[in-house]
Symmetry: C2
Subunit: 205 residues, 2 copies
């Protein structure tokens, strides 16, 4: 281990984004990112496995937040409500970072290798959420489906938040996207409308 | 272009799966796959971009089936019903291929690079389904959400079908998984239960 550098992770993330914006993602090297942050390449690799990863540094924190929020939700909370609370718990992480998130989203959309990494990170979050639901006693396939549906909501809401000219916060986008998911799944002409297996009591407010 | 080989694609897929089973995915080369199929490496690369791709040869067909089924669904069909019909239209592709699908699933679970490719293919299907829904006049975020939810249903149902000891067919798994999605999204204690924006008339049966 080298000497400890104050906020090395944040400095590397900021340096990387600035360089990606200035000269493009493909034309930026890890060496240049480290130099711009006033750090060594070796320090870069202590924090990030590769150049791509510098854009996904927050994934571990998101995973922990989602897992712990689902695990700690009150017993009577339905699986989808637990997942909704978990997504909402991530909103403060992004607050004040909308410009960064928008720049990052632009890079992801433009580079296939970053899109792949993003899909893997989202699949990891879905898998972690499903694990946490099973830990609450939710059976399959409900656990996996609820987790996947939750991550679909997150993905769509996040894209809308990043592009929102009115700058509504991420929490509002998550809520309205979840309501939209409920509407699209309820809006069917099925001959056998499904009955909810168990309806949690409405919490008193 | 070389000379036309009868069912070269199918022969390459079969040879690849046999070799992957015999000696493992990592230890099988494209050269060996081509030789086993009685074809040249050059012919392999006419059909598949790389070794991974030989396991994803059906993706284009799935995409076309999903897109055309959504596009051709009767006007009164709700977005989720159109996606459900599209998923159901893929079931015959897999019929008689459960053993192959199970072997393939085992490989995907065991190899990170195959999981990545699988995630990309599923994201492509979701994106194609969302495009087809927008072509029917479905607005955002409903189009993206319905497509993502549909692909989540497909993913979960497919995994259950592959592992099902009772060998129920994929259509049945798709239907029961979709019902489960409706149940988990309906089962909430929200203070403001969402109203379906538009309920399609139940078709006469």
């Amino acid at each position: 281990m080298g000497r400890w550098e104050p906020n090395a992770r944040g400095r590397l993330e900021e340096a990387a984004m600035n360089l990606f914006q200035e000269r493009g993602y493909d034309r930026t090297t890890v060496e240049e990112i480290a130099a711009r942050a006033g750090l060594t390449e070796r320090t870069f690799f202590r924090y990030f496995a590769d150049k791509k990863e510098v854009l996904f540094g927050g994934a571990g924190e998101l995973r922990r937040l989602i897992t712990s929020t689902i695990t700690d939700a009150p017993e009577e909370t339905s699986p989808l409500e637990a997942v909704a609370a978990a997504l909402d718990a991530t909103a403060p992480v992004f607050k004040e970072r909308r410009d960064y998130a928008r720049a990052r989203q632009g890079l992801i959309v433009a580079h296939a290798e970053l899109r792949e990494r993003e899909l893997i990170k989202l699949a990891d979050l879905a898998s972690a959420a499903a694990d946490a639901l099973r830990g609450r006693g939710v059976t399959e396939p409900a656990a996996s489906l609820t987790a996947e549906a939750g991550i679909a909501v997150f993905k769509v809401a996040f894209e809308r938040w990043v592009e929102d000219p009115k700058s509504q916060d991420l929490s509002q986008h998550l809520r309205s996207t979840l309501d939209e998911l409920r509407a699209v799944t309820a809006s069917t002409g099925t001959a056998n409308p499904p009955q909810p297996v168990k309806r949690a009591k409405a919490p008193r407010r």
